[in-house]
Amino acid sequence: MNLSYWWWKILGVLLFTYVLTRGLLTPLKPGIEDVSPNRAQAGKSLSLNIIGYNTNYTKGKNTVYIKNIDSFYITSQAVQVIDDQRLNAQFSIPLFLPTKQSLSQFSIIVSSNFDGTSIIPSKLILHQDSINQEQAQLLWLSSKPNFTIINKYHFPYRNILYETIRNTFFHVSLWFAMFALLAASVFNSIQFLRKNDLNYDFKANAQVRTGILFGILGLLTGSLWAKYTWGSWWTNDIKLNMAALSMLIYMSYLIIRAGIEDLDKRARISASYNVFALVAIIPLIFILPRLMDSLHPGNGGNPAFGSEDMDNALRLVFYPAVISFILLGFWIADLVFRIQVLENKTEDPNNY
């Protein structure tokens, strides 16, 4: 076996296997799925029911905290464990809240010496009849409690994403691979225009076709994700629609190729169109969504790949996923290219 020829294909398969196993089998960090009730009155006692996700409440000692945005805490008076996923915490809410408003949002934190610390942000709304911040600061803890930190390898828990966070490895990586393939196809189109060698045209065509396949898979995985997190298979989100439109641009590339019989003419015109097409999709996918509001991270002011979206545990699988999809994409494109060359030889043996 010639390793210098095969190494990148082997690497692609190995990385893809790693992404599949590690990406699908690593559990999510324990989190809080829901709390009830989510409204309470200051100065009264509160019995809070907590539903956990991937938690093991029976296996550890649990403490529950209520926290406001300025980091003032109160600790639960008693915690009753119902099962691994359910807790009941008793609180005595002080008469005054450490805020200037009568209504304020609070987060719930569960610290367990088995699962570590989990939080559900801004889930509880507390109401106070009168405001006295000085008094409130005496009644609430101003120093951060000692939360238990457990260093296990977990993917982050996000309330609307749950297990679909794993789709990052497929959905985003497919787009990266698509762009790599399209960029390579433009390179080959330019090479064809410079050297007039039909092999470059076949390569560009194979890469565009594989790029379109990856783009459609990116749209499908995105649509699936949208249904789970946003509640609809398709939304008016700018990035989603611009991505679909960019696929249309490349569909036109295929139509152009299908419309021309003459090999050289087809190659020249489609190569020219291909260069134009990539230039057209850059503003569609990278610039327009940044000018408008979008649900996607990295657009409309949202951070992309920030610590809120991606932690180091995800990065450890995400980057190999991007590399593996790019390598697999080029492998598929290489196979398509070879099929085209063979087809061309069969049709007209004088071409080679």
């Binding site: 439109l245 036109s252 327009l288």
Partner: protein
Amino acid sequence: MNELLALWRRDLLNEWRNFYQLGGLLAFLSGVCYLIYFFGGKIDLQEWSLLYWLTYLFLSFFIGARVYEDDHTKYRFFFHQLVHPQNLFLSKLIYVFCFLLLINLISLFLFTLFIPVIHVDWMNWMILCLILNIGMSNLICFSSLLNTNIQNSTLFLTILILPLSFPLLGVAYSASIGILEGQSIVSNISKFQLILGIDLITFALAIVLLPQLLRN
């Protein structure tokens, strides 16, 4: 320069001689505006802007279908002996640019007449049209040239122009809403710069790729 001017004048003369085509275009535009007025009722700024650019897009298909209609079929060899193909392309570019600008002016007049919105800053609107038309005329001419090399059908031209023009029209639509809402040109400057950037890139690409398209 003289060659360019002569070609441009020839296109203008040709247009004048086939005035019925321009008349058809104006009739279409007036008809669309009247239909929107009649059936649309009171529409908001976003709908107004969307309809304006959609009408513009349909008219650009119509213009695109005629750019190389004769010059690349009937008179091809004749022209290629007389003028450089690049000059022919540039003259078409200037001609389409002027034609699109005229369409913009007439559309704006008819739209404001039939479907009055709160306020249209004509100056800002025309600056937007001016920079948009640089890129659009370039795309139309380039797509039209591609089309004559393929099958020379309007359907093909539509397939070529529609997706490629969307980045330009998308930004123009977004900027036009800002103008209709009374924003100053400064607040839309990033969108204008983006359109100019796309104009520049598409123009450079067209000039670079043109010799490849005309090689045979």
